[in-house]
């Protein structure tokens, strides 16, 4: 599996660290209420299909990436810097 890092170019999977679903980019407001925080901290989708995830280019540029990946085919359909995905 290869990931096309927006900074470094296409690189082998072993250079990256996998963080998990990209929920960290949608942190609720402090007063969003118990339900929103419960969902943010504990509840995760488990899709058979497209999912957005955070990967860290640990051995490369040190950039945090949002990778859109299909969990069935492992096809990667999009990679962007987390700092840009947020704004």
């Amino acid at each position: 599996m290869r990931i096309n890092c927006p900074v470094c170019g296409e690189r082998d999977r072993r250079e990256f660290y996998y963080k998990g679903a990209a929920v960290a980019l949608e942190r609720p407001a402090p007063d969003a209420g118990e339900a929103a925080w419960d969902e943010y901290v504990h509840l995760r989708e488990n899709p058979a299909g497209e999912t957005r995830e955070l990967w860290y280019h640990e051995s490369g540029c040190n950039g945090w990436l949002v990778v859109t990946r299909n969990t069935v085919s492992h096809e990667i359909s999009g990679v962007e810097l987390a700092s840009e995905a947020r704004s």
Binding site: V7, C8, G9, R11, D12, R14, E15, E58, S59, G60, C61, N62, G63
Partner: protein, 181 residues
């Protein structure tokens, strides 16, 4: 009084030769990582040019002039080697001294790229990785910075604590390449 003796990261480990392949430790030189503050990259480039005669390199490239070099060293990071950083840089960037933190070795020989092909998940052939190319990548399981100095020579940097593993892994790959003739 205890007398402390300064040792280089690869003291007692290098040089190592296998056929015409050779690894040797480079001179100890001052090294600093420069991380330009937001929006200050251009000003850092201008200061580097003025004080050290080298431009800020683009991603995956190195600027080299004799023993002084500036490597792209990660997202928003540059490594100045061979000169103490100009005092003006500290207003424009976070500058940290890393002189003792890295083992810096030179791998040379006609089949140097074949040696790295066994250790590194990046295409190191001359056609894909010309002179003054640099990458941050893995060398076996170590985070490394690899720079092409010439057609048959590379600079390899890993954390100082991993010097012995670096030499072990390079030597194994050199012997494997050498055995194929």
């Amino acid at each position: 009084m205890v007398e402390l003796v300064a040792k280089t990261p690869c003291a007692g480990l290098l040089p190592v030769s296998v056929g015409d392949l050779r690894i040797e430790e480079t001179h100890m030189l001052p090294m600093s990582v420069i991380m330009p503050f937001l929006g200050k990259e251009e000003a850092v480039g201008a200061t580097l040019q003025k004080a050290h005669g080298l431009a800020l390199p683009p991603v995956n490239r190195a600027e080299i002039d004799g023993e002084t070099s500036v490597l792209w060293f990660g997202r928003g990071q540059f490594l100045l080697r061979g000169a103490a950083p100009d005092a003006d840089l500290t207003d424009l960037a976070a500058v940290t001294d890393q002189s003792d933190a890295w083992a810096v070795v030179r791998l040379s020989g006609a089949k140097a790229a074949d040696v790295l092909a066994r250790l590194v998940p990046v295409d190191m052939r001359l056609s894909a990785f010309p002179e003054k190319s640099t990458v941050r990548t893995d060398l076996m399981h170590m985070m490394a910075s690899i720079t092409r100095l010439g057609p048959d020579s590379f600079q390899i940097m890993v954390f100082r604590s991993m010097a012995q593993t670096l030499v072990h892994d390079l030597k194994g790959a050199m012997e494997a390449v050498g055995a194929r003739g």
